[in-house]
Amino acid sequence: MGNLFFKSKDIIVIALILTVAAILYACIEYTGKEGKTAEILLNNEVIKTLELSEDAVYSPEDFPHVVFEVREGKVRFRESDCPDKICVNTGFIYKQGQTAVCLPNKLVLRITGNDVDTVL
């Protein structure tokens, strides 16, 4: 090779590193999308993490009248005893960074990860 800066051994190493990087990147991308989770927060603290890959129904211990439902990779407030029902009306959420909020019960449901940093 007549390359002045890189020797042929270097090129092999570069190729190797790039391949490994590409595989790692693909893994992270793939698992990042498959293993999506939702968090339920009460007063800033995560009180429960839900895997969106498994259908489930969940009520936090202190909120027997609030019901969360995971179905087909999406999650929602299925029931709530709050007066405005804004949380329930938000419906299913599934995109990274999406939230549903119940102000009266101080409960926040959010999909982890971000596509945007905030929505206004």
Partner: protein, 336 residues
Amino acid sequence: MKRILFLLCLLMLTGCGTKKEYSAQYLDVFDTYTTFQAYSDDKEGFDRISEGLHSQLIRLNRLFDIYNDYEGISNLKTVNDNAGVAPVVVDKELYDLVKAGISAYDETEGYINIAMGPVLKVWHNYRESALADPNNALIPSSEELSEAARHTDINNIILDDKNMSIYIKDKYASIDVGAIAKGYAADRAREYLEENGVTAALINLGGNVVGLNDDSKPSWKIGVQKPIEGSSEYVYKLDINNASAVSSGNYQRYYVYKDKIYHHIIDKDTLMPSVNNKSVTVVSPSSLEGDIYSTYLFILPYDKGKEIVKEKGLEAVWVDKDDKVIAKTKGGEYVR
């Protein structure tokens, strides 16, 4: 070989920062859901800042409250309760906000009028009753609204710079700072963060966003909400860098009567909720300015609003009454 390793090391150095992103939420200020994100060396540092920010917001929320009394403070309710009675000496923040409200009136041909209290109160009462009992929702009569509108002259508000007091001359008049309070509070919040050495942070005060940026976080990505209450879907993506973004929308506070939305932004010409747009988002250096102009543009038809955006050098995104999205930003114009 050594050269390669050296290059790799350099790459790794540029790729890694020592600061981590932390976040907090507050559900007890300005009747909305507030989020705070910031880059910090450690959790303790972040928590300290977050606590300080939270108590600052609680304080401002109490000062600007027109519905509740708090022990030991003179707030806007105190000023309103003393209409026609006596001037009330207030804290600097409340004084500054009311002063800013009066300049906003001049800047917006009276469309932003903090003396609209009596009219907004009528709508507030109808909205509260409707939300408590949606089947019996009603709208106010035009007589009721015009009667209230007789007491909305901005000149009823008398400011005294020397004593920092506010006096409302007409005993039936009252101040409502709903259109500007969160913008003002967001600007104070940004100052608090700057004073405490925070250089990369994002505050979202339920529709009023302020972003601080440095090299570690060159911009924040902001989604303009689809105009449906509680929706976290967005119709447009904005990048902001050391700036504010504010949305005014018909989905933020409203009730439904005969299948029509009656929201909280009232057009002074009709005394009814304005109908030209579903939401308007404004990007500007100050969040107070953004709050004023997002409301002003929300009320105006697009053709008039776009002239103002041009003249003022603002960036704005409209979602009009037919769900058409129009964005005028530094990146150019976008229509969908």
